[in-house]
């Protein structure tokens, strides 16, 4: 469509104004504000002047053991999510796609946790993992009472338990995306392979996986970026405990700013989370594009 005059142009731009207004007020200005607060020292009390401290907040954050631990937790969580999410989701998607009897029901069962509030998911698993919870009852029932422990209180199991719940809650999401990808693979390729006498595993490794490669890469990318932003599960299940061992940068940011009133430090962590997300998004996207071209 062609815009004829300057007057027409300004008329049509009015349509973007409501979106622009909300976007700028609640997102762009706060973004600039975050940079500002991250170089300030402030305890959150209005009237108390903000003190410019330069990069001190960032230096404090990177020399703080609890932040470094939260980074390590984040990388662990990303590693295990990537290791389990897409592979299990792919196997489930292939199984569902074979349309076995009752596959619709199974699809719903695997998928629904991904649309529930993580607060509810976190609480649901909290009651399973608590010391007198049902997991320990179950372990005793089947004679594995030596495994009984306070899963979320024990420092050696707490983070692993949360990582497990995060994996559990996300599998269905990747399954649905991969399932959408599977339906785009032409049936003729499989039929041709059948004529050549290919086994199911050969078909899986030589047709399914190569054909799905772009979507598999997309899933891994989304997984990485999504895992960086995990907050609710930790907040609900351990509040970062025991002793701050299960904090992620997101929860640490929240506690620093809104529990300990270190608004500058909290903002600095917020900016660091943004930078990590940007670097990983741009980095993995460029890897994806390079693969796509070759």
């Amino acid at each position: 469509m062609i815009i004829k005059s300057r007057k027409e142009k300004s008329k049509i731009l009015l349509f973007t104004l409501p979106a622009l207004f909300i976007y700028i007020v609640f997102l762009v200005i706060p973004m600039i504000g975050a940079l500002y607060f991250s170089v300030m020292n402030w305890n959150g009390i209005r009237g108390v002047p903000l003190e410019y401290v330069g990069l001190d907040n960032y230096i404090n954050v990177f020399t703080d053991k609890s932040f470094l631990l939260s980074l390590k937790n984040m990388f662990n969580m990303v590693f295990f999510s990537v290791l389990f999410h897409t592979p299990i989701a792919l196997l489930l998607a292939v199984a569902i796609n074979s349309k076995f009897k009752g596959y619709r029901l199974f699809k719903v069962v695997y998928f629904v946790p991904t649309i529930f509030p993580l607060t509810a998911i976190g609480l649901l698993w909290y009651f399973i993992f608590m010391p007198n919870g049902s997991l320990n009852s179950f372990l005793e029932l089947i004679g594995l009472s030596e495994l009984v422990t306070g899963w979320l209180i024990n420092p050696s199991t707490a983070m692993g338990t949360i990582i497990f719940v995060n994996i559990w809650a996300g599998i269905g999401y990747y399954m649905v995306i991969l399932l959408a990808g599977l339906t785009t693979i032409p049936k003729e390729i499989y039929e041709a392979a059948d004529i050549d006498g290919a086994t199911p595993s050969k078909k899986f490794f030589h047709i399914t996986i190569p054909m799905l490669k772009p979507i598999i890469t997309l899933c891994i990318l989304m997984d990485i970026i999504g895992t960086i932003k995990v907050f609710d599960l930790i907040f609900v299940m351990t509040e970062g405990g025991p002793n701050g061992l299960t904090n992620l940068p997101t929860t640490l940011m929240y506690y620093e700013a809104f529990r300990y009133d270190n608004y500058g430090v909290g903002s600095a962590i917020g900016i660091i989370i943004l930078v990590i997300a940007l670097v990983l998004t741009i980095g993995s996207e460029s890897i994806m594009n390079r693969k796509g071209r070759s």
Binding site: M1, I3, I12, I29, R46, V112, V236
Partner: protein, 271 residues
């Protein structure tokens, strides 16, 4: 035949891993405290529906539930209009500022909520918007705008131009074209983003956690958390509250299965 055995040997245990915890919660929601711990895996001796009544009335789940319905619907409605108007311009008009605007809106997808929490909290405090549902709604709108505009722009670009051209020849204004042609034709894409946006607003606790401390205005996910913190020993009613919280997303999914799935796939770009 052998393949089928392998498939079932995989999907059945996995199914149990997924349905087990949910079933456990559902069964526990009808039990008393002692029964939850003494017989965690059995059917309830008697179905204590009163757990649901306690959660709904005494623990205020009814109020949280209604708050969440209001918040989520308002978010969805505002987003549908605001993002479709912007998408109309971005999809249909070619001028310099257009490309800049598209990119500008797209950047919002990368911004984690945590980055802006402090300035947003400052602003909300300054403007006296604590415990204000509209402020909450506008924040949800702001954070879902990028995704909604992207999906709608792509959809509108695929709509055939001829109807609009005919309308222009007939002397229709841009608003008339938007209102009578673009908006009705975009209903499939608008419903997809609406379901996605509904779930995002229903599930979010981060903004309510910071900006809603009055019990009267809490949305359901925060109300549930509140309930578990204050009366965490009443397990039956608490389990009932969890079930109440997840019922709406479940119903939305069962009603609009395909829309939910395509919305999440489109949202893939966002996560």
């Amino acid at each position: 035949m052998k393949n089928k055995v392998i498939i079932y040997a995989f999907v059945l245990p996995m199914g149990l891993l997924f349905i087990g915890p949910m079933l456990f919660t559902f069964l526990s929601s009808f039990k008393g405290n002692t029964e939850i711990f003494s017989a965690p895996f059995s059917l309830p001796e008697v179905f204590r529906f009163e757990n649901y009544i306690v959660a709904w009335n005494e623990a205020n789940m009814s109020r949280y539930f209604i708050n969440s319905i209001v918040i989520s619907l308002a978010t969805v409605i505002i987003l549908a209009f605001v993002s479709s108007m912007a998408a109309y311009v971005l999809a249909r008009f070619n001028f310099k500022i257009n490309r800049f605007l598209s990119l500008f809106f797209l950047l919002g997808m990368m911004l984690p909520m945590h980055t802006v929490l402090v300035p947003v909290a400052y602003m909300i405090g300054l403007l006296g918007l604590k415990n204000n549902l509209l402020a909450l709604v506008l924040l949800f709108v702001a954070f879902s705008l990028s995704f909604s505009i992207l999906v709608l722009t792509r959809f509108m670009q695929s709509i055939n131009l001829s109807l609009e051209e005919a309308a222009i020849i007939d002397g229709a204004s841009y608003f008339q074209i938007y209102w009578r042609i673009i908006l009705p034709m975009s209903v499939p894409a608008i419903s997809t983003i609406s379901i996605f946006n509904f779930l995002a607003a229903w599930n979010n606790i981060l903004f309510p956690l910071l900006f809603i401390n009055d019990d009267r205005f809490k949305p359901i996910a925060l109300g549930l958390l509140n309930f578990s913190g204050e009366r965490g020993s009443e397990f039956g009613p608490l389990m009932a509250a969890i079930i109440i919280t997840i019922t709406v997303p479940l119903i939305v999914y069962l009603l609009f299965q395909e829309k939910v799935e395509s919305g999440l796939a489109a949202g893939a770009v966002k996560e």
